[in-house]
């Protein structure tokens, strides 16, 4: 027997409908439309012309796509190692220090900048005659040669993202129960062994969230690359998201751009699914 009031039962679909319609209208419909466009030739003006899988066949034969995939992978691996990995390190080293919060403040401040703002600030610093070269006393084209330009942008990304990852890990560290840690300490565990076998497993739910968010963010890297290099020179710093934008809005090849969008969606969805399935097992 239901415990719901008759009123709630009668109108329950009505309550859900506005939100469901919004999601359907703003998320699923554009996604299905993009999937349809990926099977057409479309310049944004004339009606789309059905071409079947032609755009996906072209994708397989496009050397620029391989570069985009390579760079996107670099972004994923780099994000795991730098903003996430270093974030964990800073959190572990500072969370039980007296006044640790003050040590973490400088890492947090850059998070206030948007991706585009970040690019605007760092682009002149890393340019040929920028401050970075002058300070280091070198003559390096940080944003020209690949994969050096992607690595340089990753360092900039780390500068911004480190603080928020640190903060999330500190919250995780503060919320884990103290008893198992004290018990482990009494048993003689300390340092690396304490972290590896006691703290790390207890933090697993939070780590799954931080890594999951970083995974999705790195797969769709766009703004910082677009502002700093526009995917160039040539196309050597393009990521999948930049390729999608350029093909769609710069080259006006909406069909091909949509095919890249579908590929990016599949890759992001698959990566997230595989990762989360492993984490919640």
């Amino acid at each position: 027997m239901s415990t719901r009031t008759p009123m709630l039962g009668r109108f329950r679909l009505g309550y859900v409908a506005p939100a469901a319609l919004l999601v359907a209208g703003l998320l699923y419909t554009p996604f299905l439309w993009t999937a349809y466009l990926s099977l057409t030739r479309y310049d944004g003006l004339a009606p789309p012309e059905w071409t079947g899988p032609r755009n996906f066949v072209k994708l397989l034969d496009d050397p620029a796509l391989l570069t985009s995939i390579r760079n996107t992978l670099l972004w994923v691996i780099g994000t795991m190692v730098l903003p996430v990995g270093l974030g964990l390190l800073v959190a572990v080293l500072s969370y039980d220090l007296k006044g640790g919060a003050w040590y973490r403040v400088p890492f947090m401040l850059p998070y206030a900048l948007s991706g585009a703002g970040l690019g605007l600030v760092w682009s002149p610093i890393l340019s040929h005659d920028g401050i970075a070269n002058q300070l280091l006393g070198v003559d390096t084209a940080f944003l020209q040669d690949a994969p050096q330009n992607t690595l340089a942008m990753l360092l900039v990304w780390t500068w911004q993202q480190l603080g928020v990852n640190t903060l999330l890990f500190v919250v995780g560290l503060q919320s884990i129960p103290k008893e198992p840690i004290e018990a482990a300490r009494i048993d003689g565990a300390s340092g690396w062994r304490l972290f590896r076998y006691v703290i790390w497993p207890l933090m697993r739910p939070l780590t799954a969230v931080v890594v999951g968010l970083a995974l999705v963010a790195s797969l769709k890297t766009f703004d910082i690359v677009w502002v700093m290099t526009q995917g160039g020179p040539g196309r050597n710093s393009e990521t999948l998201a930049v390729t999608m934008y350029k093909e769609t809005f710069v080259a006006s090849d909406y069909g091909y751009g949509s095919a890249v969008a579908v590929l990016l969606t599949v890759v992001t969805g698959l990566a997230s699914y595989l990762y989360l399935r492993r984490q919640v097992r």
Binding site: F11, G44, L45, A46, S127, D129, F249
Partner: protein
């Protein structure tokens, strides 16, 4: 149960009604102020001044909305054709892009405006082909520009240099500057990466350049390869600044980071905005042909259109505005405030060098060559801009670059001949 389903349907109907239009054609509205969307965000101040002047002269105000990212702007305009948020007037590009929107019947026919302006001497017949599709004119010239070389006069004076009149003289100038540790030329790996390609193509084989833009020639043809080799020769000689330099080209010229910057006459606005004085701080000369045997000196030319929608809210007001825009009264203001040349031959250009280039362009001694940006279809242009960006940072890659552009061209022309 039936009631709850009815409620869902009711909510859906309200939401859908709110999202949709009213279905019927809206009656034409009489407007006293028009919106002008453009991809020239830096010129908002000048558009504003034109809006004030037009309100005073013809009783029609104009409010500009300027974008600074042309890809974002073009996507907005294309999308606006299918929505109710439409600009009354908008800037666009001649060449393939104008043809695209004309074919989709989105642009108002301005043949009558052109006929009237040509008769009144406000527009030149020579300009009409850039705006003609299937015998009719569309849009009017928002601006015209002739391309040449802006040079830092103080640097030239310091080293006893004069504007060159032959290609060999230009190279001698570059060589003298190099010996004095001054970079001769500006170039970039982003957006304007095509400048030296079009200039060398036009100065070596303008017919081949024209054939490239219509798909009758290939980027891998020997003539194009020679152009890239010439360009590489200039880069290898050390005449150019680093292509990754993020300094604004206006500042590059002002600060003497490079002694010469090749751009359209609109670059004069950048000079005046930096308080540089024509004739004292900087000068302008036409770039001589590489191939001295060509009958005419090639001069890169561009003209940006100002268009009205075929289904404008108030078509009469939009056409009235375009007609006024072509007159000397409007063009005098438009050219003077920006310190640029005008599409109206009656307008007197105060800047001596720019006034001279306008006269020269109409003298018949020059061959006007359509700028690469307008002459090249968007997908090929995108591949080419990326390709030239790669080339200027890795000059040895020119054959690979040409093959990549040709691959895109092959695909485009297979469906667009």
């Amino acid at each position: 149960m039936i009631r709850s389903r009815m409620a869902v349907l009711g909510v859906a109907a309200v939401v859908l009604a709110a999202c949709g239009g009213n279905g019927a054609e809206a009656p034409a509205k009489k407007k006293t102020e028009l919106t002008l969307y453009n991809d020239k965000g830096a010129w908002t101040k000048f558009f504003d001044e034109m809006g004030v002047l037009s309100k005073e002269k013809i009783g029609l105000g104009m409010k500009p909305t300027g974008y600074t990212d042309s890809a974002q702007y073009q996507a907005f305009i294309k999308a606006s054709f299918r929505t109710n948020v439409k600009p009354d007037l908008f800037t666009w590009q001649t060449g393939g892009m104008l043809e695209e929107i004309v074919k989709q019947k989105q642009v108002a026919d301005t043949t009558a405006v052109w006929q009237q302006a040509i008769k009144a001497g406000d527009l030149s017949q020579d300009l009409a082909p850039y705006y003609t599709i299937d015998g009719k004119q569309y849009c009017v010239p928002m601006n015209v520009a002739y391309w040449g070389m802006f040079y830092n006069k103080k640097i030239f004076d310091k080293h006893g240099l004069r504007p060159p009149t032959t290609w060999d003289e230009l190279i001698t100038v570059a060589e003298t500057l190099k010996k004095n540790d001054v970079k001769a030329f500006y170039h970039t790996s982003v957006l304007f990466s095509f400048v030296w390609f079009e200039q060398l193509m036009a100065g070596m084989d303008p017919d081949l350049y024209d054939r490239l833009s219509t798909g009758e020639a290939k980027y891998t043809d020997p003539g194009v390869v020679q152009v890239m080799e010439k360009w590489k020769e200039l880069i290898d000689a050390g005449y150019f600044i680093n292509p990754g330099d993020k300094t604004d080209p206006g500042d590059v010229l002002k600060n003497g980071k490079a002694a010469m910057v090749s751009f359209g006459t609109w670059f004069n606005t950048s000079m005046t905005q930096r308080d540089m004085k024509a004739g004292a701080d900087y000068g302008f000369f036409t770039i001589p042909n590489v191939n001295a045997s060509l009958p005419k000196t090639s001069m890169i030319f561009e003209s940006g259109p100002l268009c009205s929608l075929a289904k404008a809210d108030d078509p009469e007001a939009s056409l009235k505005y375009l007609t006024w825009w072509t007159t000397a009264e409007a063009q005098e203001k438009w050219a003077t405030t920006r310190g640029d040349v005008s599409a109206n031959p009656k307008v007197e250009i105060k800047d001596e060098a720019l006034g001279q280039v306008t006269k020269d362009a109409g003298s018949g001694r020059y061959r006007l060559v359509n700028r690469y940006f307008e002459a090249t279809p968007p997908p090929i242009l995108t591949a080419a801009l990326d390709g030239f960006g790669k080339f200027v940072t890795e000059p040895g890659s020119y054959k690979e670059v040409l093959e990549t552009i040709q691959k895109e061209a092959d695909e485009y022309w297979s469906t667009h001949q």
